[in-house]
Every structure is written in C-alpha cells, then in structure tokens.
Symmetry: C2
Subunit: 242 residues, 2 copies
Amino acid sequence: MAYQLHYWPGIQGRGEFVRLALEAAGAPYVDVARGDVSAGQGLPALLNCLQDEAIARPPFACPVLVDGKQVIAQSAAILMYLGPRLKLVGASEADRLWTHQIQLTLADAVDEAHNTHHPLGSGLYYEDQKPEAARAAQEFRTQRMPKFLGWLEAVLARNPKGTRHLVGARQSYTDLSLFQLVEGLLYAFPKSTKRALKKTPLVLALHERVAQHRRVAAYLRSERRLPFNEDGIFRRYPELDA
Amino acid sequence: MAYQLHYWPGIQGRGEFVRLALEAAGAPYVDVARGDVSAGQGLPALLNCLQDEAIARPPFACPVLVDGKQVIAQSAAILMYLGPRLKLVGASEADRLWTHQIQLTLADAVDEAHNTHHPLGSGLYYEDQKPEAARAAQEFRTQRMPKFLGWLEAVLARNPKGTRHLVGARQSYTDLSLFQLVEGLLYAFPKSTKRALKKTPLVLALHERVAQHRRVAAYLRSERRLPFNEDGIFRRYPELDA
C-alpha cells in the first residue's frame, strides 16, 4: 500500500526531507494535501489528520507519515522509520543510530536557518521583525552555517568507508537531507553559502552527486518538486545575505 | 562499565534529560566534566571528546554519551539508545518510535524556550537582545507554551493504558523529560506556566509523580542535581514573564 505523506501544500518545508527519501527509493506514496478533495485528499484530509481526536497517538505538527495503522510525525523519526524499509540506512544498530544522529543535527541546522527570518517567533510576519532578522541572519551566516558545514565535512572526511557518503559505503537518507540543506542554503543565502562551500569540498561534491542520482534528478525536474518560495523554511530575502 | 556522560559543568542544560534517565534507572555513570582533572576527567576531557580528530563519528555538540566504543550525541538519540538498556521504554517498535516522537517534540519545546532569551542567536549576550527577547518571550508564553502543554495533555488523555504515563502503563524516559520541561518552565516563567498548567491537570499530575519517584527524589535532593541558573536553557528573567 502506498505511504500517505501529510504536509502543507505549496511549500517544500520539512516534508521535503521525507519526499526526497520516498522519491530516491522509488516508493509509492500519496502527497495527501496536494490531492483532490473529491478523492478524500487535499487540505481537509491534512487538517483532519492533525485534529482527529480519534487518533490515540496524535501528531504535534506536519509532516506526518501514515503507513497502514502507523501514524508518525517528526521528520527525523519518519526517516528513521522509513530507512530500513526503503533500504536507505545500514543494517547495524550503530549505523542506524549514527545516521539518525546526523539527521537530528541537520534538523537543528534547518531550524536555525528558519530562525533567521523569524527570530521572534513564527506567529509574527517577517515584515514585523526585519531588523531582528538581519542580526540573526548575520550570526547564522558567519558563525553557525560554517560550523554545521564544517562538521558535515569532517563526517565525510572521517568516514572509514570513503568520502562519498556520510555513513558507510552506500547512500542513506541523511545524504539526501544534506542535499536538501545545501540546496536550501544556496537558495536563501547564495553569496555566503557559495563562499562557505569553498571550504567544504566533500559536502559540495555530495550535493552534486545526489542531484545527479537518477530518480532524484527525475524528481527535481518533475512537477512534484515544488519551487523554493518565501513561505517555506529557506527564503530568499536578499537583505539577509552578504 | 559505567556510562560516561559529557556535558558542560555548571548547568543542567540538555544533559539533564540524560541525567534524569540514568538517575531514575539507578544506572552507574560518570559525569565526566564535573570530575577531577587529575583523574583524567574535568573540562579537558569534555573538550577532548568534542575535538578529538581520531573519533570517526564526531559529535557536533554536547551532551555526548560514551558507552564502551559507542559515542552518541543528540539528547533524543542518547535516550533512544538508553531506553531499552535502562528499561525506560516499551518493547515494540511502535512504542519505541512513539516515545521517541514525543521526545523530539519535547526537544522542540526546549529549543523554543531557549530561544526566548536568545532570539538573535546564542553567540550574542542576552543583554544585547533584551527588547527582542521580550517580544519572543511573549509569543512563547501566549502561543507556543500552551500549545505544547495542551498537546502533552492530549497524549496523556488518549493513552489507552491510562493517563499516568505518556506511553503505555509504565514510566518511560519521556515521562522524565516532561518533568524536566515543566520544571524548567516553572523556573523561567513561573506566572504564565502556573496559569497554563491549570488547563493541563494530567501534565501537572505527571510532573508531581515523577518528582516523587524514589530515585528521582533522591537525585533532586543530592548535590548531583545542579540548580537552575541564568547560564542554562531555562533562565529566570522576571521581565520575560507575565
């Protein structure tokens, strides 16, 4: 049975980390909120998933993956669940834990990238926190982004199985998430990200390799891949880059 | 062999979620950075753990748990690893995933609580972002904190095994983390947290029960439990509460 992915339509957001795994594995899935209301899909189905009081283990937020009776929220937890099923993680407990640990750190980087345009909270508009965003973005560009990318570079450089993957000798879901993080940073902060990536050639090379992965490349060219925009996590506000 | 926990000395921080699990289970552990330098412990040992280029799978940040050859960072990943070993999680994959999902959501709440005093970034002092912190704290107190607590209340209310625990009929590590979140919120935002908890009686009751757990209560009275202070995640700045 196809997986059901519930995520806000119109943005890549945190749902994209799950979509990339499903797409790279060629797994059947339904992007529920982008489907037809007449088919029981669309936004009402997503809202029902978030608000249905009959769900004993309710999600706090999207993305939510439904696999039969399993309802799973939190993108890193979803990927941990999908990893073995999509053959996107190693077999040992140690490899699975390490892959998940990298994923949680990528998720932290994503949170901090989001924070640059909403430092005072996501309940307020960007327009109501522009000076604060400028200061937060400067801190992120000059301190945090290089730190995260430098750590990913070290993870690749130290991988005993070679520098082509973050974990072991095969692609894992966290390689795909690294691609998405770099892609998002290049969209939001093109100048500073290109500068930072010059110091992390292994990260840059992995980003390129994932982009050329046959099924990922086909997905990126398809209409299923939403473009970046200024409603998502990674937003291009030129005043926040330098 | 005793677990080695590496975390910044002087604050509870994210290390406390791991400490509470170890303490509640009565597991032997060394709080490395608080030990004697002459015994190979103390801050140098912690810094070495973070900077040692011989570690093939390097931590991005503390807390770090070392168990023999296993080096694990990210508090939620550490707890996932410890759960079965300390008998602080259910046996089924579904229970473990759900417990972890709750933990990740608690970690999000912790991040947002931290963000209230450092909205522009943790590289700047609170004193350099006080007006911004006031706006971020208002958003957190009025919108986010009630949303997180309300979700935890729903998780307890819908637990088919009863409302005494977040998952199943036994204590799990995420019950302990709920205690710590509530404890931290009561320290940082006493007025607004007490008000919010009136609407979440099951959360409040679980917080009380964990505090009375024999080993947890002994730990809380001991010198091993650091007091809250204004260097940690939860800080009492009266101007941020209302």
